[in-house]
Assembly symmetry: C2
Homo-oligomer: 434 residues x 2
């Protein structure tokens, strides 16, 4: 089958991430798309030593990529709105589909670019423009297509969320944390875009237009940053049962549509109040589905590349596969794994919680630990309760290291056979999901 | 444009929910699909008084729907695996696309049904089969298409999660909560499918096949229920910093693939550990994107209908719209809201957190409350701190009722003008996001 040919403009963080993901996962990605996907032309002012460009045409003038007659999809990852706008317009005029991660470009010039794409019969895909690797644009345009969206609220700037999380966890001051975020590379030397909410406003405008079916209107967003949040406000919020998050909120009301980015106090028990550090999340309220939440990394080379490549696959599927089979039933046109080896539970490794009743005298714990050690399982934590009403037996609770299920079950048999242990050993598997 | 014609089989909970959502949101759904979507034929053993079937052909024999030459898409919402399997096979043989919410059917007979659909050039869509309204199947097949999925873990049975949440929150016993869940309609009279993990195993098999590109293998899942979880285990888990959740876990390891459903202890700080009540969530770890989480209602008439209708829109988009414009840039082919009224911040209503320094003497609080009352804003909570080092002024923290931003700002001006108030009034907007 004729491959889908991609031209990649920009080899910075996201560009090199996209190059890496497409190279590393090439076979799985092509099996999902139903057609090979190849980067055939890269436009970049200079090479990036992280990318092996052997066999790929390289141009110093990115407009050469947009005009290359070989190419089906132009991927714009140069950022900014001046050259990027020209590049995307040129690609569209040359009949190319466009994939971009550029939130400012879409928020500020999306209306004109979409109209041009429509006229040319090509598409502009921009999943990576909002919330990095979280497929929130696909969720709003497709997954929630049945719903009237009532409102959405998002933590859509990781830098701001990192600062607020540090302020809460460590009682630190805004300016102090900002300096650390800059040192860690989370925040730019000029942090205005992040901490004053402009970056979040760009993303909110895009989400709101998808939710409510309206043109992009960046100039209508109310924007307030987090630089005025004092440590005492963070503490009082906690005392009242709330957390402060920098939210982008879009809401359809009878009077009109609210579009606003500002520090917001939300009940601490809400899931979105517990989204910490640089992570992003978007909470969407639909009339049929109720609340749904989408969580993940909102920035970074490979998370953003994940969304860029998903868009490339989307375009490739639409271009190349018969319409009735655009997406294969199990996602892969040729199953990546037609004959997988499914492990029996015996072979699975996890950590364990064990609870048992043991006689309250010296040496019992040592016997149990020895049995576990023979199974190559160690004790990571222990709760030993006082005997109840002077009973001779006490509950013993153990958290173990990871071990193989079969070994653990044999160890439990041996522990249950100890005369000092009364009754069975309760076990629950423990996963860190980290 | 020629409408896409839908035949709906089954008018139970999900069937009548689907009918309601398609009727209520018809114009927005058609604008998203780019083509009108109409239910033209309903198959059900009896009418459902909740559905106004005027103008819709009704058959008592659902197979009449599957054979109706007018119909493009057959929606199977009858449940079970015997008649449903025959119905879907008949629909496929008659060249219909199929949308189903039937997890057992897909998990147990998906391989044969997908092969039949492939041969006929039609598609079977099953977003509603896993985690109700959460678009997790779309996320795995499309949104995360760039990734090698390393593992996934899901709370994919709401009944089980409700029981475990009640056990933790209220220290109740399994059997006691189960009875309540049955009374509330969350659990069936025979709760085996839910509490022994069979329902979760059906869903896990589907997710795992999408993640790893492998055939559906229901008989390979290890399944352990939650009926053995004792209240003391719930407490000890909490003491150790963990929570117990009934998880479906699929993981690709060097030795093979793990497929297992069992009670699992996970660190309390993980987002998924905080998914409570009947809600579902799926945590997916991709090699490029890292961890992403998808949260929402996993069951219920309209949440499930949300997924059923999204699948109908998906098929309709593929059937009727030029391939390059399968999904409109902003999701709607004709913008639902071309000239929206975006509210100015002055017009927005929220609640507020206020912090100020006031002299520590009688009457000050009354003056402040009066100013707020004139602005139709009341005080919902108050923290008044002791004066620091015998200072004459004390921090005063107020949580207000919802009020209009402009009124609140005027009230703040008046509060700041009080001689007893020193310095400015800090305000942070409060949203319940409930």
């Amino acid at each position: 089958m004729k491959p889908v040919k991609v031209g990649l403009c920009g080899l910075g963080t996201v560009g090199s991430g996209t190059f890496a993901v497409l190279s590393r996962n090439q076979s799985a990605i092509s099996a999902r798309a139903g057609v090979p996907i190849e980067i055939v032309h890269v436009g970049a002012r200079r090479d990036n030593p992280a990318c092996d460009l052997a066999g790929v045409k390289v141009s110093r003038d990115i407009f050469d990529v947009a005009r290359d007659p070989e190419i089906d999809i132009v991927v714009e990852l140069i950022g900014g709105t001046t050259t990027a706008r020209e590049l995307v317009s040129t690609a569209i005029a040359n009949g190319k589909h466009v994939v971009t991660a550029n939130k400012a470009l879409i928020a500020e010039f999306g209306n004109e670019l979409f109209a041009a794409a429509q006229a040319q019969g090509v598409s502009i895909a921009f999943e990576a423009a909002v919330a990095g690797g979280i497929p929130i644009i696909k969720a709003l345009r497709e997954g929630l297509a049945a719903n009237q969206i009532e409102w959405l609220a998002g933590i859509i700037n990781g830098t701001g969320n990192f600062i607020l999380t540090e302020m809460r966890d460590k009682g630190r001051d805004f300016h102090d944390v900002l300096k650390e975020a800059q040192a860690l590379g989370y925040a730019e030397a000029d942090p205005t875009f992040d901490v004053e909410g402009i970056d979040a406003a760009h993303k909110l405008v895009i989400l709101a237009s998808l939710a409510f079916g309206m043109p992009l209107q960046f100039d209508k967003v109310f924007t307030e940053g987090i630089s005025q949040i004092a440590p005492e406000d963070v503490n009082y919020a906690q005392e009242l049962g709330y957390r402060i998050k920098h939210l982008g909120i879009a809401r359809q009301t009878e009077a009109g549509i609210e579009l606003r980015v500002h520090p917001t106090m939300i009940p601490a028990k809400r899931l979105i109040a517990n989204v910490d550090g640089v992570m992003n999340a978007v909470l969407v309220k639909g009339d049929a589905v109720g609340p749904t939440l989408y969580y993940g990394a909102g920035a970074g080379a490979e998370p953003t590349a994940s969304a860029v490549v998903a868009d490339i696959v989307d375009v490739a599927r639409t271009l190349s596969v018969s319409t009735s089979q655009r997406v294969a039933h199990l996602g892969f046109h040729a199953l990546a794994n037609p004959n997988p080896n499914i492990l029996s539970m015996d072979e699975v490794e996890t950590a364990y919680y064990l609870r048992l009743l043991a006689e309250d005298r010296p040496g019992v714990l040592a016997k149990i630990a020895n049995i576990l050690a023979e199974a190559h399982i160690s004790v990571e934590a222990l709760i030993q309760k006082e005997p109840i009403n002077g009973a001779a037996e006490v509950p013993l609770i153990l958290l173990t290291s990871r071990g193989r299920e079969r070994q653990l079950m044999l160890a439990i048999d041996k522990i249950e056979a100890l005369s000092e242990v009364h009754g069975g050993v309760t076990h629950i598997r423990v996963e860190s999901l980290g």
